[in-house]
Subunit: 172 residues, 3 copies
């Protein structure tokens, strides 16, 4: 298991530095409503389960465009939407666990696309989320399995939703 | 991890008492057919994976109404269906692990709604299941991440199906 | 947890022998494209997460028939497609972990069917994958929870996709 343990506490700003290097600014985390019945992030020991996240704008609101990929939303916009969903996951993680450097391993992404029947490029759309994980966390920590399917509908009429599971580094 | 460990074996009827307090009677568990190729509940060490559960009536049969939320099934009926799916999960858990007091942490719910295209309130429907978990198990043990989406179809024409993962308390 | 630990290293060809006994030949594993952003198999300690797998032919290419179950694809062909998806998972596992004898427990299958609206037999279709796991690994190691739903679309227009989670035996 040592493959995905980062070397030391000296790495506490590694991911923040990497984000800055890539020119990526994290959005404000998705606002939690007081009546919410589910948590955006559930931590159980080293395991972290992330609720389905929709695309988030810089202020933590739900980002457009809305509608179906292959219709009102282009493939390229779908890829961007998957990236914004992953940025929302990053922001929720920072709120919950404090630092992205605590992440020892990405495990799996479950990518859901709302698309016109003629559009079949779900993996290409969800690659927007996967690529971001790989770019920011690198090929060892970022490595993940994946599902990329079309669903019949997503909340708020967003074109993409991403759920994720990952693991924290064991406490030093 | 100690946050989700209940104090002692003296708690062995805590959840049964809580159900009674809330006026909730568990249904008979969903009947297992002899030719079933999958288990309703899979226990691996402390991890418990629950198969997708449809709404269950008091006798352990599949409960109506049938059809799509936003069409033949109203939103309110959809919420009730999500509750009945969760009650079915509770009943399957009792059959498999003996007591709901063995549950140390709910982890994640995957909620699937069969809906008319115009209906988008999947999270509100799946809140029926989430709220029940929170009411019965409280905000620490019951805390869970979630996905709430529309699927193209569910077995038996039910409007809602819920899959879940949770963890057992370490053996005392 | 000892229930799913096979007795010894002497078992290293148990599953290969079982496959031969059943007359099952594993296909070549699904070809990995150099630009792939996700892994087919993710191993984290003892946990193994499998990406969504489509039906695979003997040479590791995507297998037909294509289209929807209940339409261009018959129920029987759907069952065969679920089997070919699981054979593809077996092949990906061999490539990643070397031997299927390292598997200590199947955990869960997530089965997705692309079907005509009139077709509701998703569990029967996904039974093709579940039955194969049970036949090859037996009722203790092979035991798994499951979801079997209809999705709005699958990549490459395949009728079935299967995702899985399992656990490795602790290293001897």
């Amino acid at each position: 298991m040592s493959q995905f343990i980062l070397p030391s506490k000296a790495t506490d700003t590694v991911i923040a530095g990497r984000l800055s290097e890539l020119g990526i600014r994290l959005p404000s985390p998705w606002a939690i409503t007081p009546t919410a019945e589910a948590a955006f992030v559930r931590v159980i020991g080293c395991r972290v389960l992330i609720s389905g996240h929709v695309p988030i704008d810089d202020e933590g609101g739900i980002a457009g465009p809305f509608g179906r990929v292959g219709g009102a939303v282009s493939e390229e916009q779908g890829i961007r939407a998957a990236e914004r969903a992953m940025l929302g996951i990053f922001a929720s993680l920072v709120r919950e666990i404090g630092s992205l450097d605590r992440i020892g391993a990405w495990v799996q992404l479950f990518g859901m696309v709302c698309a016109e029947p003629s559009f079949k490029g779900y993996p290409k759309v969800i690659d927007g989320a996967s690529r971001l994980v790989n770019q920011v966390f690198g090929p060892i920590v970022g490595r993940h399995s994946r599902v990329a399917i079309a669903v019949a509908g997503l909340p708020f009429d967003v074109p993409v939703e991403v759920q994720a599971e990952l693991e924290l580094r064991p406490e030093a």
